[in-house]
C-alpha cells in the first residue's frame, strides 16, 4: 500500500496539490476526503472522476490530517488521503437514501457487502441529518450479520444543521451513504469507540416516540422539557443538543448516548441521531471534564499496544467533543500520531459507528471512534 496526503483551504488549492502528486507519478486508486460544506464538493467530486480516482468523501464539522509534513486540525478546509492499495479486493460504492428508511438503506448495503466478499469489513459515511444511525446499523446487520466489522461516521455541516453530504467520484448525495468495502482476507480492520460522557439527574421515561423522533418525556412535550432542564433559549437549539445528549439506559447492556440533531418547534419534538425507543428510561447527560482527555489517551495507547502495525488510521470524533474540549481536543488526537506515526485522517461527526468491546457493532454519539487499516 502506498499513501500520499495533503490538506487544502480552497477547491483550487486542492486541485493544484492533487495535480502535483499525480505529476510525480503517484496514481491513487482511492481518495479519502473530508471537507467543509463551504468547499465546492461537487467540483471536487467531478474533478476526481475526471482523474479516474474513486472517492470516499464526506462533509464535516472540522477535519484533521496528521502526517510527516504537518499535524493539523482545520476548519472549513479539505483533508485528503490518497491510497494506492496493492490488493484488488476493495470496493467503493455510493447508496441513495431518498425515499427509503435508514433501515432499508442499511439492508441494501449489508446485502451488497455480503455478496461482494465472504468476510467483508465496512468503512462507512452517511448523511448526518437525514439518517437514523441506529436503524442504518441494524439494517446492515440484518443482512451482513450482527458481528460485521464496521466503522464510520455521520457527515457534518460545520454545526449549521442544514445540509450534510457524502460524495463519490461524480456523485454528491444529500441523503445517502458511501461505503468502502475491504476484504478481510487481505486487510486488517480494527478499532475502538470511547466516550466519557456522564449521565446527570433523575430517570425520565420516553412516553411517546417514533423512531428517532421524541414527542414527549414524562408526558410533557419533549422540546419544552429539554429547554427547561438545560435552561437554554430557542436559538441555542439544535446546536446545543449535540453536546447534551440523552443517555439511554439499557438494562444488562452498555448505556448509549443519543444526541439531538434537530427540533420540530411546531410539534415540540426532538429529532435524534439515532432511535430513542418509546418506554425507554433516560437521563440527561453532560460532557465530561477535561480529564476525559487522559482517559481517551490511555484507551488509544492500550489499543496501540495490541495493534501496533497499521498502514493508516481514520478517526471519527463527535463534533460535541470538539465543542466541549476546545483546544484540548488535539491532545486526544496527538496521542494517536505519537503512538503510530502513520497517516491519520478524520473529521468531527454528527454520529459514529463502531464495534464495541463485545465485537457487536453499534451506533454512537459523543465518541472518539478510531479505526486502523492494514493491508496483509
Amino acid at each position: 500500500m502506498e499513501l500520499k496526503s495533503f490538506s487544502a483551504e480552497t477547491t483550487n488549492q486542492f486541485k493544484d496539490k492533487f495535480q502535483q502528486i499525480e505529476n510525480q507519478g503517484f496514481i491513487a486508486s482511492t481518495a479519502i476526503i473530508f471537507a467543509s460544506v463551504n468547499v465546492e464538493l461537487d467540483e471536487i467530486s467531478k474533478f476526481l472522476k475526471a482523474h479516474s480516482v474513486q472517492v470516499f468523501g464526506s462533509s464535516s464539522c472540522g477535519e484533521f490530517l496528521y502526517d510527516e509534513q504537518s499535524q493539523i486540525l482545520s476548519e472549513e478546509a479539505i483533508v485528503c488521503l490518497l491510497v494506492k492499495y496493492t490488493s484488488p479486493n476493495f470496493r467503493l460504492k455510493s447508496f441513495e437514501g431518498e425515499q427509503k428508511t435508514s433501515f432499508l438503506l442499511g439492508a441494501e448495503i449489508g446485502s451488497w457487502a455480503k455478496s461482494t466478499f465472504v468476510d467483508p469489513a465496512i468503512i462507512i459515511v452517511a448523511s448526518g441529518l437525514e439518517t437514523d444511525g441506529e436503524q442504518l446499523v441494524k439494517g446492515i446487520q440484518s443482512l451482513a450479520g450482527e458481528n460485521i466489522t464496521m466503522f464510520g461516521g455521520l457527515a457534518g455541516d460545520d454545526a449549521k444543521f442544514r445540509d450534510t453530504f457524502v460524495f463519490s467520484e461524480g456523485r454528491l448525495l444529500k441523503n445517502g451513504a458511501l461505503v468502502m468495502l475491504l476484504d478481510k482476507n487481505d486487510f486488517d480492520v480494527k478499532g475502538i469507540a470511547t466516550s466519557g460522557w456522564v449521565g446527570i439527574g433523575a430517570d425520565k421515561i420516553i412516553t411517546h416516540s417514533e423512531g428517532n423522533v421524541v414527542y414527549t418525556i414524562d408526558d410533557h412535550p419533549a422540546l419544552d422539557v429539554y429547554k427547561e432542564y438545560l435552561n437554554v433559549d430557542d436559538k441555542d437549539l439544535p446546536g446545543i443538543g449535540v453536546e447534551y445528549p440523552l443517555l439511554i439506559k439499557k438494562p444488562g447492556k452498555e448505556d448509549v448516548l443519543r444526541a439531538v440533531l434537530n427540533v420540530d418547534r411546531e410539534k415540540k419534538s426532538l429529532i435524534f441521531a439515532g432511535t430513542v425507543p418509546q418506554g425507554a428510561t433516560v437521563t440527561f447527560s453532560s460532557s465530561p471534564g477535561f480529564e476525559v482527555v487522559e482517559f481517551t489517551r490511555d484507551k488509544v495507547t492500550a489499543f496501540y499496544e495490541k495493534n501496533k502495525h497499521a498502514d493508516y488510521l481514520i478517526l471519527f470524533s463527535c463534533m460535541a467533543r470538539h465543542n466541549a474540549l476546545g483546544p484540548m481536543i488535539s491532545e486526544e488526537i496527538d496521542q494517536v500520531w505519537e503512538n503510530w506515526n502513520i497517516p491519520l485522517i478524520g473529521f468531527f461527526t454528527y454520529g459514529e459507528i463502531g464495534n464495541n468491546y463485545n465485537s457487536m457493532c453499534d451506533f454512537y454519539n459523543e465518541t472518539f471512534t478510531l479505526v486502523s487499516i492494514k493491508e496483509k
Binding site: I200, G201, A202, E228, Y229, L230, N231, V232, I240, Y244, F284, S286, S287, F290, A324, G326, P327, M328
Partner: protein, 586 residues
C-alpha cells in the same frame, strides 16, 4: 504556566547577549507560541466553564427538584404503607432468608406483647416460648426455597398463657434481580371462627347422636310392639280355626281388625321415620305392573265389599308391562290412596285408573288416579293435605282411624321417585287423588322381584324344622303355622340350644329368632355356618325377628342366613319365605 513565563523572560534576557540572534529569536518565538497555546487553553476552559455553568446549574437544580419530588412521593408512599401496615386487622411480618424478623406491624407487636425493636432480628421460637411447630417452619423454608406462596396455614399459638388460633399466608419477597430476599407473612386471628366451628361440630355431633338415639328408640319400640302384635294376630288366627259361638267369632274379628289397624299405624310411623332420617332407599328392579294391580285388587276388593262399595281397576292398554322401579313403594302409595278412598266413602264406588301420559325412549310417565264418591275435602284443607299429621276435620264426627301420616308418606315417596302428587275434590261429591311417576321401561322380562308363583297346599314328605324362639306365645304361633304347612317341628329357646340340636340332627330348615337369651340367633347362625365351612352340609336358616329396621336384613344375610321375615308375620308371608329358601313348593 508560571514556569513557562519565567523561561520566556530568561530567553528574552538572553536575546541581547546572544551569539546567533536568528537562532535565539526562533527559540524565543517557539516558546512564545507554546505560551500562547497555553493561554488559549486557559481561555477556553474559562469560557467553557462560563457557558456550562448556566446549563449545569439548571440541570442540577432541576435534578434536585426531581429528586425532591421523588423523595416526597416515596415519603407519601412510605407513609401510606405504614398506615396500611398499622391499620390492617392482621398480623403482618417480614422475615429475611434466615427466617429472622425484619419488620412487624402494630398488631403483631400487640399479639406478642413486645416492641418492634425487641422482635427484629429474632426468630419465631425466641418470640413464642416453646414454639415447636416444625410444619410451619418447614412451610417458611419451602417458600424461601421455591419462591411459591403458601396459603391458609392454621395453627394455635400461645403467648402469655393465652391461646389464639391464626391462619397465615406466606409469600416470598424478590429483589430487583429477582432473587428471593425474604418473605412476608400475614396472619389472621381465627380463634372466634375456630370456636364457632367447634361449637358447630359439637352441636352436629349432638344432633347426630339425638337422631341415632331416636332411630334406636324407634327400632326398639317397633320390636317391642311387633312381638305382642304377632302374638295377638297369630293367636286370633289360631282361635278363628277353633269352634266359636257367633258372638265370640264377632268379638274375635273386632280384635283382629283392631290389631291390623295398629299394625298399619306402626308401619306408617316406621316408614315416616325412615324417610325423615333419609334412610329409606328405593329399589330399582324390573317388575310386572299388572301383578301389582292384581295384588291391590285382591286386598282392596275385600275391603270395598265389606262396605258394599264397588272397586274397579282401569288399566290403559298402552302401559308397558315390565317396568323398572320400586314395586313395593308403588303398591304402598296406591294402597294408601285406595284405603283412604274406601275409608271416606259410604256409598258408590272407588276407581283406580292408570294411563301412560308420556313416553320417550325407554321412559314411561304413568298417571295413577284414585277416584271415589265419598265425602270430599273442603277447599281450605286441600293445600295442607299432604303435610305431616294433617287431618281433615269432619263436621259429623265419625270414627276415622289413621296416623295422619299416610298422605305425607305418599308425597315423600312420589318426591323420591321424581314424581308429583295432587288432589281434586268437590265436597259431598267425591275426591280424585292422582300421582304421576316416571319409570324406566325394561327390555328384559326377567322379574327380579319374585312375587309370582303357583300356590299349592301340603308337603309331599314330612320335613324337619328346628324353631329357635324364646317367647312362648310366638313359639305357639310359629309352631301352629309350620304344622299347618305340614312340617315336623322341634322347638328350642335360645341360640345355644339351637346349636346343640343342630349337631345332633339333620334339619331341613332352621327358623331362628334373633333376640334370645344365652346366645342370640345372629351368633348362633354364624356358629352353624362356621361348623359347616369344611363340609358339604348347608342347613337353610330363616331369621324371624321383630328387628324391622333398615339394614337388619342385610346384616343377617351376611351372617349366613338364607331368608328373613319380620314379625308380625302371616301364614302367607311365612310360607312365601320358606318356599323361596327351600326353593321348592310344598
Amino acid at each position: 504556566m508560571q514556569s513557562r513565563i519565567e523561561q520566556l523572560i530568561v530567553k528574552l534576557n538572553e536575546l541581547t547577549s546572544c551569539n546567533d540572534f536568528s537562532e535565539c529569536k526562533q527559540q524565543f518565538l517557539h516558546e512564545l507560541i507554546k505560551v500562547k497555546a497555553e493561554v488559549e487553553k486557559i481561555q477556553f476552559k474559562y469560557e467553557r466553564a462560563n457557558k456550562e455553568k448556566n446549563i449545569l446549574s439548571s440541570l442540577l437544580t432541576r435534578t434536585s427538584i426531581d429528586l425532591k419530588k421523588v423523595t416526597e412521593k416515596l415519603e407519601i408512599r412510605a407513609e401510606e404503607l405504614s398506615t396500611l401496615l398499622s391499620t390492617i386487622p392482621a398480623y403482618v411480618y417480614f422475615k429475611d432468608v434466615n427466617l429472622r424478623y425484619m419488620l412487624v406491624n402494630q398488631f403483631f407487636e400487640n399479639l406478642v406483647g413486645l416492641k418492634s425493636n425487641e422482635i427484629i432480628g429474632k426468630q419465631v421460637s425466641d418470640i413464642f416460648n416453646g414454639y415447636s411447630n416444625d410444619v410451619y417452619l418447614e412451610k417458611e423454608r419451602f417458600v424461601i426455597k421455591s419462591g411459591d406462596a403458601v396459603y391458609n396455614i392454621e395453627e394455635e399459638i400461645e403467648r402469655k398463657k393465652s391461646k389464639r388460633w391464626v391462619s397465615t399466608n406466606i409469600a416470598p419477597i424478590f429483589n430487583a434481580e429477582n432473587q428471593i430476599v425474604g418473605l412476608i407473612g400475614i396472619s389472621w386471628d381465627i380463634t372466634e371462627r375456630k370456636h364457632n366451628e367447634e361449637e358447630l361440630r359439637k352441636a352436629k355431633e349432638q344432633a347426630e347422636a339425638g337422631t341415632f338415639a331416636k332411630n334406636e328408640f324407634i327400632a326398639s319400640v317397633s320390636h317391642e310392639f311387633r312381638t305382642p302384635m304377632n302374638g295377638i294376630l297369630g293367636l286370633s288366627d289360631i282361635m278363628q280355626n277353633t269352634p266359636l259361638t257367633p258372638e265370640q267369632s264377632d268379638l274375635l274379628k273386632g280384635i283382629t281388625v283392631s290389631a291390623e289397624n295398629l299394625l298399619v299405624l306402626l308401619n306408617d310411623v316406621l316408614d315416616f321415620s325412615a324417610i325423615e332420617a333419609g334412610k329409606m332407599e328405593l329399589e330399582f328392579i324390573t317388575f310386572n305392573i299388572k301383578k301389582v294391580f292384581d295384588d291391590i285388587n285382591l286386598v282392596t276388593k275385600l275391603k270395598a265389599n265389606e262396605k258394599s262399595l264397588e272397586f274397579l281397576i282401569q288399566v290403559d292398554e298402552n302401559i308397558p308391562e315390565f317396568l323398572i322401579g320400586d314395586p313395593v313403594r308403588l303398591r304402598q302409595i296406591i294402597l294408601n290412596l285406595t284405603n283412604n278412598a274406601i275409608k271416606f266413602t259410604e256409598k258408590g264406588r272407588v276407581v283406580l285408573a292408570v294411563r301412560c301420559i308420556k313416553s320417550e325412549k325407554n321412559k314411561a310417565f304413568l298417571r295413577f288416579e284414585v277416584a271415589d264418591t265419598g265425602i270430599g275435602i273442603p277447599p281450605k284443607a286441600i293445600s295442607s293435605l299432604f303435610q305431616v299429621f294433617s287431618r281433615v276435620k269432619q263436621e259429623k264426627s265419625k270414627l276415622i282411624t289413621g296416623t295422619g301420616l299416610g298422605l305425607s308418606i305418599c308425597k315423600k315417596l312420589t318426591d323420591m321417585m321424581d314424581g308429583t302428587i295432587g288432589v281434586e275434590s268437590v265436597q259431598g261429591k267425591g275426591s280424585l287423588f292422582w300421582f304421576e311417576l316416571p319409570f324406566l321401561v325394561s327390555d328384559s322380562h326377567e322379574i327380579e322381584c319374585k312375587i309370582t308363583g303357583e300356590e299349592s297346599e301340603g308337603v309331599s314328605y314330612t320335613k324337619l324344622v328346628l324353631l329357635a324362639e324364646d317367647n312362648p306365645i310366638n313359639q305357639k304361633i310359629a309352631k301352629y303355622n309350620l304344622q299347618k304347612m305340614g312340617f315336623e317341628i322341634e322347638v328350642v329357646s335360645n341360640g345355644e340350644e339351637a346349636i346343640q340340636s343342630y349337631c345332633k340332627r339333620n334339619y331341613d330348615l332352621i327358623i331362628m329368632d334373633i333376640q334370645m337369651p344365652v346366645m342370640n340367633g345372629y351368633q348362633a347362625a354364624k356358629t352353624i355356618r362356621e361348623v359347616e365351612r369344611n363340609s358339604a352340609r348347608h342347613t337353610p336358616i330363616i331369621a324371624l325377628t321383630a328387628n324391622a329396621m333398615k339394614g337388619d336384613k342385610e346384616l343377617y344375610l351376611e351372617a349366613g342366613m338364607d331368608g328373613y321375615l319380620s314379625k308380625p308375620f302371616t301364614f302367607d308371608s311365612l310360607k312365601s319365605v320358606i318356599k323361596s329358601v327351600l326353593n321348592e313348593d310344598f
